[in-house]
C-alpha cells in the first residue's frame, strides 16, 4: 500500500483506477460513522414536524403528517425573531472580541519570551477549569455594581472572558508551529510587531481562528446559564431562553421544543460550514504553493 501511494503521488496524471479494497473499506466505515453522527440532526428535524402523540408513539419514524404549524407556532410563542436578533448581536460581538484578543494574546504567549510567561499561561489555563455555575453569583454582583447588568455587555464580556483561555490555547499551539523565519524576515524588512501580527501571523493562523470561532459560536449561541441570570429585559433575551419555555418541570411539549430547536440549529450549521471552508482554505493555499 505505501508503494501504490507513492506511485499515485509521483504520477498524478492517470487518477482513475479501481479503488483498492483497503480504501473502500475505510471509506465505507467512515460513511457509516458519518451517517451515525448525522442521524440525531435528521431526527431533530423529523421530530420537529410531529404531533406530540406521534412523537411518543413512534419516536424513530417519519411524521405521520407533517405539522408545519409547529414551526410557526414555536416561532411566534417564544418570540424567536427578537431572540434570534439578540443572539446574533451578542454572539457576533463576542466572537469578534474573542478572536481579536485571543489571537493577540496567543501571539505574545507563543512567540515572545518575557518574564512571567509561564505563569501567565497557567493563569489563563485556570479559566478552562472553572465550572461556570459557581461564578454566577459573584458575576451578578459585580456586573450589577458596574451597571452593565441587563445590557448586551452583560453577556458579551463574560462570554468573551470565559472563552479566551480556550481560544488562546488553540491559537498559541497553532502559532508555535509557524516557522520562526517569518518574523525574522519581517523584522529585517522593518515591520513592527503590530505589523507582523496583523500582516503575517493573523492571516497564517486563519484555520485556528476559524476553529476558535466555531467553538465560540456554539458556546455563545447555546448558553443558558448566563443568559438566564444576567438578562432581565424580555426584549434582550437570547435563543436558549426561548427554547426552554415549553417545559414546565412536570412535562414538556416536545413538538414545540423540537420545532424551536430545529429553527435555532439552522444558523449554527451555516456558520459551521462557512468557517470550515476557511479552515480548508489554508490547505488550498498550501497546495497552490506546493
Amino acid at each position: 500500500m505505501p508503494e501504490s501511494t507513492t506511485a499515485a503521488r509521483l504520477q498524478p496524471a492517470p487518477r482513475r483506477r479501481w479503488p483498492r479494497p483497503g480504501v473502500t473499506l475505510t471509506n465505507t466505515a467512515m460513511l457509516l460513522y458519518a451517517l451515525a453522527t448525522l442521524y440525531p440532526l435528521i431526527w431533530l428535524f423529523q421530530s420537529a414536524f410531529k404531533t406530540n402523540q406521534n412523537f411518543f408513539e413512534k419516536p424513530f419514524a417519519l411524521p405521520d403528517t407533517w405539522v408545519i404549524e409547529n414551526i410557526t407556532r414555536a416561532w411566534a410563542l417564544s418570540d424567536m425573531g427578537r431572540a434570534t436578533l439578540n443572539s446574533t448581536i451578542v454572539t457576533g460581538s463576542a466572537i469578534v472580541l474573542t478572536v481579536l484578543l485571543g489571537a493577540l494574546t496567543a501571539f505574545v504567549l507563543s512567540r515572545f519570551r518575557f518574564k512571567g510567561r509561564t505563569l501567565l499561561s497557567g493563569v489563563f489555563l485556570l479559566g478552562m477549569l472553572i465550572p461556570i455555575h459557581s461564578t454566577l453569583v459573584p458575576l451578578f454582583i459585580m456586573m450589577n455594581q458596574a451597571g452593565i447588568l441587563n445590557t448586551y455587555w452583560a453577556l458579551i464580556l463574560p462570554y468573551t472572558s470565559f472563552e479566551l483561555p480556550l481560544a488562546i490555547f488553540i491559537m498559541a499551539a497553532y502559532m508555535s508551529a509557524i516557522p520562526k523565519e517569518i518574523e525574522e524576515a519581517a523584522i529585517i524588512d522593518g515591520s513592527g510587531y503590530w505589523g507582523i501580527f496583523v500582516r503575517m501571523i493573523f492571516p497564517l493562523t486563519l484555520p485556528a481562528i476559524s476553529t476558535v470561532a466555531i467553538l465560540a459560536f456554539l458556546r455563545y449561541w447555546n448558553d443558558f446559564a448566563f443568559a438566564l441570570v444576567f438578562i432581565n429585559e424580555p426584549s434582550l433575551k437570547t435563543i436558549p431562553l426561548s427554547l426552554a419555555i415549553f417545559s414546565d418541570g412536570f412535562g414538556t411539549d416536545y413538538a414545540l421544543t423540537m420545532a424551536a430547536m430545529a429553527i435555532s440549529v439552522v444558523p449554527t450549521i451555516v456558520i459551521f460550514l462557512i468557517f470550515q471552508e476557511q479552515i480548508m482554505k489554508g490547505m488550498v493555499a498550501g497546495a497552490v504553493k506546493g
Binding site: N144, L206, L236, F246, D248, F250, G251
Partner: protein
C-alpha cells in the same frame, strides 16, 4: 502568491469583524439604554413594580396566569409593572442568584413549604395578612389549610393560586376490564393486580422517576402516610419526638421496596422522564400511573379523546393496620406570590392590589377554568373543563389531604428521600435509607 491571497482573505475577514463589532456595540448601547431610560415618557408612572413567575409556556394555565397579570397592567397605567416570565427549568437558579446578590424582585412566585421557607429564613419576605383582612370574604373562600405551606410564626406570606394534589391514581378502565382485575382498594388487591398485569405483559404502574421527585411526590408521601399517619410525619419533620428511623417509617419504605421488587414499575423507571411515563400509560402500555394535576394538563395536551375516556381516577389503596386515613391524597397548598421585604408605601399598595388581581376570587375562578385545581371554593362549569378534569375535581373534593413530603421536609431532607427511593428500587435496604433521610433532616433542622 500565498501571502497575497492570505492577506486579502484576512483583510476582508477583519473588515467583516469590525463591521460586526461596530453594529454589535451600537445595538448593545441602545439595548442597555432603552432598559434604563424606558421609564421616562411624558406621563411618568409613579410606582414601579417587578413580578417574577414561571408561567412561560403555552398551556392553558400559563396563559391564564399571564392574562391575569396583563389585566392588572391594563387597569393600572399609573403603575409600571416589570413582568418576568422565566422558563421553569431555570426559575430556582435565577431566583437563588438574585437572592444571594440581594436583588430580589418585588413579587415572585414561590412554592409553599421549603422553598418559601428559605426566603423567609433569609429575612427577605413580608407578610400579606393585612390584604386578607381587607377582603374577609376572599380569605374565607379558601379551603381549610390553604395557607399552611405559606404561614410562618402565625403570619401568612402568600395566597395560593393553585392546589397541587400529587398522588392521584390514574388507571386504565379497559385494561382492568380486559384482564378482569379489580381496581385496587387494599394493599393485597394492589399486589394481585400487579401480579396479573405482569403475567400478561402489561406494566402495572408507569413511573418516570428520572427527576427523582416523582416517586417521592406521587407515591411515598401517600404510602407512608397510610402507614404512619400525618402527625408522625409532621413530628419527624420537626425532629420532635419522632425520627425517620422509627419502625413505622422503615415499614413504609419496606412497602415501597415491595412494589419495586414485585416489578410494579416498568424496567428502567429511573431513567425515563415524567412525560414519557405518562405517555407510556396513555398509550395503554401500563395499567396505572400516579400523578398530580400536571398529569391532567399533560395528558389533555397530548392524548386523543378516546384514550382519555379510558382513564379513571381514584386514591392509593389502604394499607392494613396503618395509622393514616386511607381516603386521602397528598396535596400541597399550592404556589403563591410572595412579597419582598423592602416593598413599602405606595409600591406596597400597588403590590397588594396586584396580588389580589391575580389570586382574588375572580382570578381563582378563571384559574379553575384553565383545568387547574385551586385551593378555593369555586363553582366550575363542567362545560368549560375537560371530562377528566371533572372526574378529578370530584375525587379531590371528596377526599382529605395529607402533607406532601417535599413541601415540609428541608431541601436536604427531600433530596435524601428522592435518592433513597431510587436506591430502594436498585435493591437498597430500607433501614439504611431511613438512616440517611434522618441524618439529612436532623442536620438541616439543627441549623
Amino acid at each position: 502568491m500565498k501571502f497575497k491571497k492570505a492577506w486579502v482573505l484576512s483583510a476582508s475577514a477583519l473588515a467583516a469583524l469590525v463591521l460586526l463589532s461596530a453594529c454589535g456595540s451600537g445595538n448593545g448601547n441602545n439595548g442597555g439604554g432603552s432598559a434604563d431610560t424606558g421609564s421616562a415618557p411624558a406621563d411618568e408612572p409613579k410606582v414601579e413594580l417587578s413580578i417574577w413567575h414561571n408561567f412561560s409556556g403555552d398551556d392553558l394555565r400559563a396563559q391564564t396566569m399571564r392574562g391575569l397579570i396583563e389585566q392588572y397592567v391594563a387597569a393600572h397605567p399609573e403603575v409600571k409593572v416589570d413582568v418576568q416570565a422565566i422558563p421553569p427549568d431555570g426559575y430556582k437558579q435565577r431566583l437563588k442568584t438574585v437572592a444571594a446578590a440581594n436583588e430580589m424582585p418585588d413579587l415572585f412566585l414561590s412554592n409553599p413549604g421549603s422553598m418559601i421557607a428559605e426566603f423567609y429564613n433569609g429575612d427577605l419576605l413580608q407578610p400579606i395578612g393585612d390584604l386578607l383582612e381587607q377582603y374577609p370574604e376572599w380569605r374565607d373562600g379558601f379551603l381549610p389549610g390553604a395557607f399552611e405551606g405559606h404561614t410562618f410564626d402565625g403570619e401568612i406570606y402568600a395566597a395560593p393560586v393553585n392546589l397541587s394534589p400529587s398522588s392521584i391514581m390514574y388507571y386504565n378502565h379497559s385494561l382492568f376490564e380486559q384482564y378482569d382485575v379489580k381496581v385496587p382498594t387494599t394493599w393485597d388487591e394492589l399486589m394481585t393486580a400487579i401480579e396479573t398485569f405482569n403475567a400478561n405483559g402489561i406494566t402495572p404502574i408507569s413511573m418516570g422517576n428520572k427527576a427523582a421527585w416523582v416517586a417521592q411526590s406521587t407515591i411515598i408521601g401517600t404510602l407512608a402516610d397510610r402507614v404512619t399517619g400525618s402527625e408522625w410525619f409532621l413530628s419527624a419533620v420537626e425532629q420532635d419526638g419522632a425520627a425517620f428511623t422509627d419502625p413505622q417509617f422503615v415499614e413504609a419504605l419496606g412497602y415501597f421496596k415491595q412494589l419495586a421488587d414485585a416489578e410494579a414499575f416498568q424496567d428502567g423507571a429511573n431513567s425515563i422522564d415524567n412525560t414519557q411515563a405518562e405517555q407510556y400509560f396513555i398509550q395503554g402500555n401500563a395499567a396505572m400511573t400516579l400523578g398530580g394535576t400536571w398529569t391532567l394538563t399533560n395528558l389533555a395536551a397530548t392524548a386523543s379523546e378516546e384514550a382519555l375516556e379510558q382513564v379513571g381516577v381514584t386514591v392509593f389503596p389502604a394499607i392494613p393496620g396503618g395509622a393514616g386515613d386511607p381516603n386521602t391524597i397528598t396535596a400541597s397548598t399550592g404556589q403563591g406570590f410572595a412579597m419582598n421585604k423592602d416593598v413599602t408605601g405606595a409600591q406596597r399598595e400597588a403590590a397588594l392590589d396586584l396580588i389580589y388581581t391575580i389570586s382574588g376570587p375572580e382570578a381563582q375562578q378563571q384559574i379553575a377554568q384553565s383545568n387547574t385545581l385551586v385551593n378555593y371554593q369555586v363553582e366550575v362549569d363542567p362545560a368549560k373543563v375537560t371530562p377528566l378534569f371533572n372526574k378529578t375535581y370530584e375525587l379531590v373534593t371528596s377526599v382529605g389531604f395529607t402533607p406532601i413530603y417535599d413541601a415540609y421536609l428541608s431541601s436536604a431532607g427531600t433530596e435524601a428521600v428522592n435518592n433513597g427511593l431510587q436506591e430502594l428500587m436498585l435493591g437498597g435496604d430500607p433501614e439504611t435509607v431511613a438512616q440517611k433521610i434522618q441524618n439529612a433532616q436532623a442536620e438541616a433542622v439543627g441549623n
